[in-house]
């Protein structure tokens, strides 16, 4: 048999991934501080300014991510498609311990693809609701369409909770399921 070094994550993917991690964690912390203020003895506007900057960093980084995914055709591996539906029974058998072998699905299994697609949509929702909250006068039409500022606030807040709940699943499975792939998000390479 052959021993091979395989490039799993190219350099731009790794850079974009870790930048996104940093931005999203900062945004979640600042967002929760804005929702439950007064814990720290610092000016509230500092937190708001940090969040204001990172909002736009998220938009820039997400745009770059989308751009890179499209030009490198990486999105084919990331986004859940109809072709992945046939793998779902096998995947669920593995998750519920009915089957020992995980099986091969390509770069990511259907569960991962579904998670990444969900996050992609969630980030779009967050960017859109965030912008409407940031510029309510400019996006006045959408404010009325979506049912007022408070409704948008609830959506934004709830979407953040969805992030907070799905990130532990990602972390847990990444650490326990496949250390080789975990290594490759740092170094880019894995051995077979």
């Amino acid at each position: 048999m052959l021993k091979e070094i395989i490039e799993l994550h190219s350099l731009p993917v790794r850079i974009l991934h870790w930048t996104q991690v940093f931005i999203i964690i900062t945004l979640i912390i600042c967002g929760f501080y804005i929702h439950y203020p007064g814990l720290l003895n610092i000016p509230f506007s500092t937190i708001k300014n940090i969040k204001g900057v990172f909002n736009f960093l998220l938009i820039i980084n997400s745009s770059l991510y989308i751009y890179y995914s499209i030009i490198s055709k990486h999105y084919l591996e990331l986004i859940f498609s109809f072709r992945d539906i046939r793998f779902i029974p096998v995947f669920f058998k593995y998750i519920f311990f009915l089957k020992d072998e995980p099986g091969y699905y390509g770069k990511y299994n259907p569960g991962q693809k579904a998670t990444y697609t969900f996050w992609f949509l969630l980030i779009l929702v967050q960017i859109f609701t965030g912008l409407t909250l940031f510029y309510p006068e400019t996006f006045g039409f959408f404010v009325k369409l979506l049912g007022g500022l408070n409704r948008i606030r609830i959506t934004h807040y709830f979407a953040t909770w969805l992030f907070v709940f799905t990130i532990p699943i990602h972390l847990y499975l990444a650490i326990t399921e496949d250390p080789a792939k975990l290594q490759s998000i740092f170094t880019g390479y894995a051995r077979r």
Binding site: E4, Y104, G147, L149, F158, T176, P179, Y189, R191
Partner: protein, 417 residues
């Protein structure tokens, strides 16, 4: 006559102890004398309401209500403020509608009750026939020059249409296919009403925002105008009503409510809620009160078909499900030995089992060692690669690389060697 710009300036400035009506009255009288404007007939209808707007209008001090009605507008019908009684009053109302069609301003107060064709909201008795509010509104409104909805109820349904809304009340604009100028607030400020009416008489329709509210009064959020805004920026938050500091933490709806209460203030520029020590409840918000309740919570309740709930409860449920899922999966993988197997053997990628196809997307960089057994699959893939490479070479001679390929600046091609 006052130019429109000066008028707007006058409306937006606030002088202590001076009501807007007092500032406007001489200008309006001058314009009336010079014949530049005429006194518009006004019909004031009250539907499902608490008469709060009329009482709030009564709060105008200088000029008082009498002067306002007699000198500035020509009030033809208001069930509370007119002298005429019974049939005479109703005759006057319909006479105005007939004679001044296209000239009069219709002011509506209170939500439109739609249940049972509005029979829960009888507004008048015409020749022994009971007329519900919705019918009268539909009959009169198309003849009016402007329709003004005053108060949260008339503008957006408001408290009259609050959950669970047994009377099926709605705002005026949901019933009529006309442009309705909304003056929200529970109640509306006197000056919002007087100012808008004066603008309608002198210059026609004012500039409106997305919810059809005049931007001269509802152009900025309470939060932006608030005199406790510095406390918010400095992080000084009140924990209880009456404390010093910003009320953001205990559910002030100032950030989502567009109104000029902080600068205009209530009861003839004396005070307003935040100055008095309680958070804003957002009465001028289009989603008052369902979208604002509970008043002392940051975010409102969520109304589901089964009842109302809090977003925190939904969040906690989802969090519990996640924690349960992760912990049960962890127990399972420890018990079945999957965890140990993954951690020990998992430092390299899995070999495909016989019958399973290796993922094609993986980019093979280098072969470390070769055993005597040659992988048939690899030989085939290498052959395929060579073929593709040659194919590409041939193609490159003939065809220009596509735009997308030119943009692929980061994609490595180490495997080509």
């Amino acid at each position: 006559m006052l130019s429109r710009r000066e008028f707007l300036k006058l409306c937006m400035q606030t002088t202590a102890g001076m009501s807007l009506a007092r500032l406007l009255r001489p200008e309006i009288l001058k314009a009336l004398d010079q014949g530049e404007i005429t006194r518009s007939p006004v019909i004031w209808l009250e539907l499902g309401s608490c008469t709060g707007e009329s009482i709030s209008l009564d709060n105008t001090l200088d000029p008082d209500l009498k002067r306002l009605f007699l000198e500035i507008i020509d009030l033809r019908y208001h069930w509370l403020f007119i002298q005429a009684q019974g049939e005479l009053a109703i005759k006057t109302l319909f006479k105005t509608v007939e004679e001044d069609a296209g000239r009069f301003i219709l002011v509506v107060e209170g939500s439109v009750v739609t249940r049972n064709d509005g029979m829960y909201n009888i507004v008048l008795d015409r020749n022994g026939q009971l007329i519900p509010g919705i019918q009268l509104l539909k009959e009169i409104a198309p003849q009016a020059k402007h329709v003004v909805a005053v108060g949260a109820c008339a503008a957006f349904g408001g408290p009259g249409a609050a959950y669970p809304n047994p009377a099926k009340a709605v705002g005026v604009q949901d019933i009529l296919n006309l442009k309705v100028i909304n003056i929200p607030g529970c109640p509306s400020h006197t000056e919002w009403m007087v100012g808008t009416l004066a603008h309608l008489i002198m210059y026609g329709e004012p500039e409106l925002n997305n919810y059809n509210c005049p931007t001269m009064f509802f152009g900025k959020t309470i939060h932006d105008l608030c005199h406790r805004r510095s406390d918010y920026d400095n992080g000084k938050f009140a924990n209880y009503p009456g404390d010093e500091g910003c009320f953001y933490k205990i559910g002030c709806k100032g950030p989502v409510t567009y109104a000029d209460c902080p600068t205009r203030q209530w009861n003839n520029h004396i005070n307003w809620p935040v100055k008095a020590g309680i958070p804003c409840i957002g009465c001028a918000n289009p989603h008052f009160p369902d979208g604002m309740m509970p008043y002392f919570e940051h975010l409102p309740d969520i109304y589901l078909p089964g009842g109302k709930t809090r977003i925190e409860k939904i969040g906690a449920t989802l969090g519990g499900i996640t924690a349960l899922g992760i912990s049960s999966h962890m127990i399972g993988s420890i018990l079945t030995g999957r965890m140990g197997k993954n951690q020990i053997k998992g430092t390299q990628l899995r070999e495909p089992n016989p019958g399973e196809k290796a993922p094609v997307q993986e980019k093979i960089l280098d072969n470390l060692e070769k055993t005597e057994k040659t992988s048939q699959e690899l030989v085939l893939s290498k052959l395929d690669e060579i073929l593709r490479y040659q194919h590409n070479l041939n193609i490159k001679l003939m065809k220009k690389p596509s735009f997308l390929k030119k943009l692929k600046f980061w994609v490595k091609k180490k495997d080509e060697k």
